[in-house]
Symmetry: C2
DNA sequence: CAAAATGTACGAACTAGTGAGTATGTCAAG
DNA sequence: CTTGACATACTCACTAGTTCGTACATTTTG
């Protein structure tokens, strides 16, 4: 065993882990947790399978790490939105636009969340990091609604979580159900023509919901 | 016939297949396609694994059969809605209520669709039965909008597929993302208190979208 | 040198799928 | 109404291949 270090290896644990996580994100997002193959991940990595187990312990451990990292990424996005100075309607449109663009730009995140739901969010529940995500969106929406109601623009004092759900559902569904919906209605939801139109649709829907008078039924 | 014997075997192909499909639906909806185990299905069945292959050829064949059967079930539901006599708004509320209730009552269907989306709707595309689903909802929505616009109740001439998407997204998301959304926002979306409230929310949102004047921006 | 990081080769368990033979029901002919 | 031929329905045991995970050796780094 001539110990030649022709291509002498460099130890770079940081990069190794990032590399594994990148590849694993793609693999799990494409095939699911059960469908994702550890060997397949290892091969696409610049390192070996041994390192996956060295750093993440198990397949599930790796999956959880992938999930946590994905969630951590969004948290930052929401954080630096300056909405307090905008008029309520505009603030809301900006917020919706951000959610919309995020889901549009991160289909692998959307897929991971779908997969996690199939597993009843079991891994998420075990992860403090994700469980304790402080969700600033809700506070933002709450503030916007309060301002809107105060100044008389909004006529409905809606629940902010409900409003967030209305927004999220549409933005998420557009990406998560792109394929089945697209197949049935013969419509390619990733086509650029729908981008502006759908963003306007959900924005207008939310705004008109809030500005419409509460029907007495 | 009438050959009834104590513990002798009874040939009942119809029942055998139904039995397999019932169990497989549950298994795939719970664990996904890759995660679902043929052996597990076989065990919960009153028949054997050999019969699964006898009737469905392969694991994928079984999955496809499950998917087709699930889709076939809904098709009927939509069909017998009598909306033509109702005023537009009420017709729309009835339609939304139906979609809402369907997703609420069939979480395993919602899950199967989610799973199918992870697979890019690959199986669906291969199934004529599903691909050729004639979607009457769209025509219904189209008719309602047309009537509403004609009589001046609705001020927007919206695309019916877009409207259906807005409705579907919310109803679907409520069920499909029940677990992750519920975990993050500490809210049990299957709790009865949300049932009426959410149904009213999506209905009001759609109605107010259609009745609100098109903003000029 | 010790500790951390990495590569190789292997194995135990699992899993989709099958080979080969058995039971059941139908029906036509004797 | 009995017999036997035949197609469909079914059972049991087995296998080839995959997949997660690990034992062991080796290299890098401080």
């Amino acid at each position: 065993m001539a110990a030649k270090r022709e291509n002498g290896r460099k130890n770079d644990p940081q990069r190794t882990q990032e590399d594994i996580l990148d590849v694993a994100t793609e693999e799990f997002a494409t095939h699911g947790l059960a469908g994702g193959r550890v060997d397949a991940i290892a091969e696409k990595t610049r390192t070996s399978k041994r390192m996956i187990y060295y750093y993440f312990g198990s397949k599930e451990g790796l999956y959880l790490a992938v999930l946590e990292r994905s969630y951590r990424k969004i948290r930052t996005l929401e954080a630096d939105l300056e909405l307090a100075n905008l008029p309520p309607e505009e603030a809301l449109r900006t917020l919706i636009s951000t959610t919309f663009d995020h889901d549009e730009a991160n289909p692998e995140f959307v897929r991971l969340v779908s997969i996690e739901n199939i597993h009843h969010a079991a891994h998420m529940l075990r992860s403090e990091a994700i469980r304790d995500l402080n969700v600033s969106v809700i506070e933002m929406i709450e503030a916007i609604i309060r301002r809107g109601v105060a100044e008389g623009t909004f006529l409905r004092d809606a629940d902010p979580v409900d409003i967030h759900m209305l927004i999220s559902a549409f933005c998420f569904f557009r990406v998560s159900n792109r394929y089945t919906f697209g197949t049935i209605f013969r419509r390619d939801l990733s086509a650029p023509e729908f981008y502006d139109r759908h963003k306007k649709l959900i924005s207008d829907a939310v705004i008109s919901y809030l500005t419409a008078p509460e029907p007495d039924r």
